[in-house]
């Protein structure tokens, strides 16, 4: 499903975010990505949906060499990958409904299907009743859950979640963690970057730990690694 071969990513002028990363994530796996702030977690994820391309090495997602596919095919790759961005990236002037419906619109789902699915995922993330609010006026945690709703509305083959519980209280975070586990059980491959030790330790899944852009631990089942 996801294979990285000798992948390095160096940002101009010379900030090394990933260094010689080799990893394989099979179909249906659930992987936690951990590491200190700036360790390279978001960069790792960004390479998978081609927000960025590797400085060297190969990134293979769903059988395609992501850096090599032509620009016009990128949207079709992205539709198979649901992403919860660390900064949410919601269309803040649009309503919650419009934000969540957007991937369905892009893939030309019929209106009836959209009208069915949007409330369904909003219910899953606990945001029923917020459809008509502009995304920009929601609370931090609410926005985070809208981002999650949007990422799962297409039942993506791969779910990439970058710190999806960073702005949630413990109770809501547990609900969201369970939801992600649910999605995993229904067949999606999940890669989740997180700083939440208790979620990692509760779900007991594979944990890839990054330090300064290198993989320093890759265990299944793993535990949260406390640094320093």
């Amino acid at each position: 499903m996801i294979t990285l071969i000798g992948v390095s990513k160096v940002y101009r002028p010379r900030r090394v975010a990933l260094l010689d990363v080799n990893v394989h994530i099979g179909k249906g796996e659930f992987v936690f990505l951990t590491g200190a702030s700036g360790a390279g977690k978001s960069t790792f994820l960004r390479l998978l949906y081609r927000e960025q391309t590797p400085t060297s090495g190969q990134v293979i997602v769903l059988g395609q060499d992501v850096a090599r596919i032509p620009m016009r095919k990128v949207p079709y790759l992205r539709r198979q990958i649901g992403v919860v961005f660390q900064d949410y990236k919601l269309l803040s002037d649009k309503t919650v409904w419009d934000n969540v419906a957007f991937p369905l619109l892009v893939t030309e789902h019929p209106p009836r299907e959209i009208a069915r699915r949007v409330p369904a995922v909003l219910e899953q993330v606990g945001l029923l009743g917020y459809e008509k609010n502009r995304a920009g006026e929601l609370s931090g945690g609410e926005q985070q859950r809208v981002a999650l709703a949007r990422s799962i509305v297409l039942n993506p083959a791969i779910l990439l979640a970058d710190e999806p519980t960073g702005n949630l209280d413990a109770g809501t975070a547990r609900i969201i963690a369970d939801l992600i586990q649910d999605i995993h059980r229904r067949g999606s491959t999940v890669v989740m970057a997180t700083h939440s030790d208790w979620i990692v330790n509760r779900l007991r899944q594979r944990v890839i730990h990054l330090r300064h852009g290198r993989i320093v631990a890759d265990e299944y089942p793993g535990r949260y690694v406390h640094e320093a």
Binding site: Y49, E51, M71, R72, P75, Y76, R78, R79, V83, F85, K89, L90, L91, D93, F102, P103, L105, V106, T107, E108, P110, P111, R150, L154
Partner: protein, 296 residues
């Protein structure tokens, strides 16, 4: 594409226009006004060109014939005159007609003419020649001079030269102005569209990251650009049309001798350019401006 997608595009385009609010209004106004200025200048230029053509066509030269010209040769003579290249029209004017016309032209209070009339009609028969382009007057005059029984060829060489230079000058200045204003309108429209898109660059990037194709993102902007261009050009035309119609009526009353074109004739010409131009600008501006932000 499915109808529901089209509905989305239209809704987006409309919201784009609406959410801009005053911004869109100001943009639209800038587009309308600069296109209106362009339209006005285009109309003026078309009219100037028309006027200079009318004036040029009124430029005549006269071949005075020998005093004892035998009018039985008239047809033969006219054939020869008309055979000269660039002669558009030639009219035989008898000395009697000539005097009559001179009296009409100078008015009855001409002291000079009274004096001339006292001593009998001093004019010879003549042929009035119209040339299709004032530039060839010298050439035509020379050719006329070689025809027998032509005594003298008269035309206001200086006036012809001046007029040619003047009409050329007017035409060039008019053209330069039209081009300058066209450039200004182009930049205004393109710039407005560009800034509108720039203000929404973050939104565009997000859409791309969530799997939207370039064309999916582009369509609402294209429609918005199309609307802007169309409405802008349409309003500009309406303004220009109204203003010009009013002007034509006033000119017709006050300056009946100035040859203005009828509104319909001019505006159809201008309308084509403006509408096509406006729409192309709006849509083209969108496409070009978007390109930079679609590379995500």
């Amino acid at each position: 594409m499915k109808p529901s997608t089209w509905i989305y595009y239209l809704r987006e385009a409309w919201q784009g226009v609406r959410s801009g609010g005053l911004l869109s209004l100001a943009s639209a106004l800038a587009i309308v006004v600069s296109l209106a200025a362009l339209a006005v200048v285009m109309i003026l230029a078309v009219n100037l060109q028309h006027m200079t053509r009318v004036v040029e066509n009124q430029l005549q030269m006269v071949a005075y014939l020998v005093e004892d010209f035998d009018r039985t040769w008239q047809d033969e003579l006219m054939r020869k005159v008309k055979a000269i290249p660039h002669v558009k029209q030639a009219t035989f004017v008898t000395r009697e007609e000539g005097l009559q016309r001179l009296q009409d032209q100078l008015g009855s209070d001409s002291v000079l003419l009274e004096a001339a009339a006292e001593s009998g009609n001093p004019l010879p028969d003549a042929v009035e020649v119209e040339v299709d382009d004032p530039r060839y007057m010298g050439q035509v005059a020379a050719a006329l001079g070689t025809i027998e029984s032509v005594e003298e060829v008269a035309y206001r060489r200086d006036i012809v030269n001046r007029l040619t230079a003047l009409t050329d000058g007017i035409r060039n200045v008019g053209l330069a102005l039209v081009l300058l204003l066209a450039a200004a309108s182009l930049l205004t429209v393109a710039n407005t569209v560009r800034l509108t898109i720039y203000a929404r660059r973050r939104e565009i990037a997000i859409m791309k990251l969530v799997g939207a194709t370039n064309s999916f993102i582009r369509w609402p902007f294209l429609l918005e650009g199309f609307l802007f261009g169309l409405v802008g050009a349409g309003l500009a035309l309406a303004i220009a049309w109204g203003g010009y119609s009013w002007l034509v009526v006033r000119v017709g009353e006050g300056l009946p001798f100035v040859p203005v074109l009828s509104p319909d004739a001019v505006l159809l010409q201008v309308a084509q350019w403006l509408l096509v131009g406006g729409v192309l600008l709006g849509v083209g501006g969108s496409v070009v401006s978007l390109r930079r932000f679609l590379r995500v």
